[in-house]
């Protein structure tokens, strides 16, 4: 069944400069979807609309059958608990003046989630592979990959149904990147995951379904394996041909 329904959504100030143009998308429970696009594709705007940080100019977004309405406080509180996000830059996404425990506990405090917060934070840290004593330390004491784990812990601590990731591994080193992708894949088993990225290789490794965005429009969508094996739209074909591969080309002149 459908968890999030994006129905004919457009966003933008003038009719001829649409950031998003008539986008429709169904996110079912337990799905992993990769939103792939280059700069100017509108993928980050779509993510902000899905988070309820901005409202579409036309069209509608509904969550669990209820339309997304920032004015509806009771609905928004349950929505915030169900939908969490991880950002690209692990250096900007953690408040440098707070301890890790206070950072991870923020959704629990703000959304007044019942239960033992200390234990829930410890569980979240454990499930992203961080030591229990990480809780007492500050963000600057961690590497980029560890910081991204902290950000993921904050996102999963209220047990959301949907996790949104905005280029969540793009700022990380290659070896760190594979570990975080593995972590997200493991977490994706228990919730829906929408992974926004320009990196089609990471999306291919992580997502069951893929949506290709170009200039605010969805040009192709489907099962990742099928789309990669047989891309239909010329833009998808060009995108795939542009991705550098390790083997392939002969290095002799």
């Amino acid at each position: 069944m459908s968890l999030v329904r994006v129905d004919d959504v457009s966003f933008g100030y003038a009719r001829d400069r649409r950031i998003l143009d008539a986008v429709s998308l169904d996110i079912t429970a337990g799905d992993t979807i990769g939103l792939v696009g280059e700069s100017g594709s509108g993928k980050t705007t779509l993510l902000r609309l899905l988070l309820g940080l901005q409202r579409p100019a036309s069209g509608s977004i509904s969550f669990d059958g209820t339309p997304l309405d920032p004015g509806n406080a009771a609905f928004m509180r349950s929505f915030r608990r169900q939908v969490q996000v991880v950002f690209q830059d692990p250096y900007s996404s953690l408040d440098p003046r707070q301890t890790v425990s206070s950072i991870v506990a923020e959704p629990l405090r703000s959304l007044r989630v019942p239960g033992d917060h200390t234990q829930m934070v410890a569980d979240a840290l454990a499930s992203v592979g961080l030591d229990r004593d990480a809780a007492r330390r500050y963000p600057h004491q961690f590497s980029g990959g560890q910081r991204q784990r902290i950000a993921i812990a904050r996102a999963i601590v209220p047990s959301p149904k949907l996790l949104l990731a905005d280029e969540a591994v793009s700022a990380l080193d290659l070896t760190t990147r594979t570990r975080i992708v593995d972590l997200l894949r493991r977490l994706g088993a228990g919730m829906s995951l929408v992974f926004v990225s320009h990196d089609i290789g990471v999306v291919a490794a992580l997502c069951r379904r893929i949506v290709i965005l170009e200039k605010g429009r969805i040009v192709e969508a489907g099962e990742t394996v099928a789309v990669l094996a047989n891309p239909q739209h010329p833009y998808t074909q060009r995108l795939l041909a542009s991705v550098p591969r390790l083997k392939s080309k002969d290095t002799s002149p």
Binding site: V85, S93, D95, I103, S110, L111
Partner: protein
């Protein structure tokens, strides 16, 4: 040890020296100010000796033209200066931080309007604004002077707060706080204030010096605390007529004023070094 590391170590020693020197200078004034609450060498408003006596063991910096002990008056001046500095900065901070945060969070047009107003206010010298406020209240008293200076400083604080807060609001952890359901008030208290506080507090130390100088100027013009409050500015003004016969009467309040302001500025510099993590040892 390489040259670069040596330079770093020397710099760090200089920084702690700055902080230390500032703390000592300000500390002397604080101790004297506290002392005046319980003990004074002489009655500040009574004749304690001959007129315009030179410095002696009985009168460390001599007496004024009414025969009052000058050192006693300087001590009271320390207390007044500190009260003015603390009071004006506190008022400036409360008004300024509130306005600055409002502007940072406000919608586009309100922010633009507030920013333009602040820019205009800052174009006026602090002293001029303070004089206008005193004139409007039509009684010159110490508390009027403090309120006037606080209002004058608030524009500077507000502008700085607005810029600092806007920078913090761009960070992803603010968006993360919003998607975690944290209210705007919560965002201000938990994220914005703690992150702008270090820079603000350094600025407050500098504003303190500004306020002390401005109060001395107000008193010099007769718009500050009226007698018998011995503000350094009024001592300077009273010594003006006898500056050639008894120069110590003008020099002493000047030295007192400069030492407090320099001390506060050194303290601000030292604080800046101490709380800026990028300048600390790696």
């Amino acid at each position: 040890m390489t040259a670069a590391a040596e330079t770093q170590a020397v710099e760090r020693r200089q920084h702690s020296l700055t902080l230390y020197a500032g703390a000592v200078l300000v500390g002397i004034h604080v101790v004297i100010a506290l002392l005046t609450l319980v003990w004074l060498p002489y009655d500040p408003s009574a004749m304690a000796g001959g007129r315009l006596e030179p410095p002696s063991w009985l009168h460390w910096v001599g007496t004024d033209r009414l025969g009052r002990d000058l050192f006693t008056q300087l001590m009271i001046g320390s207390r007044i200066a500190l009260m003015v500095g603390v009071g004006a900065v506190a008022i400036g901070a409360v008004i300024g931080v509130t306005l600055g945060l409002l502007a940072a969070f406000a919608s586009r047009w309100l922010d633009d309007a507030l920013a333009a107003t602040l820019d205009i206010l800052i174009a006026f010298p602090t002293l001029l604004i303070a004089m206008l406020v005193v004139a409007a209240s039509d009684t010159a008293s110490l508390s009027t002077a403090i309120v006037a200076l606080g209002i004058a400083l608030s524009a500077i604080v507000a502008r700085l707060t607005r810029i600092l807060a806007k920078r913090v609001l761009l960070m992803d952890y603010i968006t993360a706080a919003r998607t975690s359901g944290t209210s705007w008030l919560g965002i201000v208290l938990i994220h914005v204030l703690p992150n702008i506080w270090p820079t603000l507090s350094v600025n407050f130390a500098l504003q303190f010096g500004l306020a002390v100088i401005a109060e001395a100027s107000l008193s010099y013009l007769g718009l500050g605390a009226p007698p018998p409050n011995a503000s350094w500015g009024r001592l300077l003004q009273e010594a003006q007529g006898t500056v050639y016969t008894a120069p110590i009467g003008a020099i002493a309040p000047g030295v007192a004023l400069v030492s407090l302001v320099i001390g506060m500025n050194l303290l601000a510099d030292g604080l800046r070094e101490a709380i800026d993590p990028t300048r600390q040892a790696r």
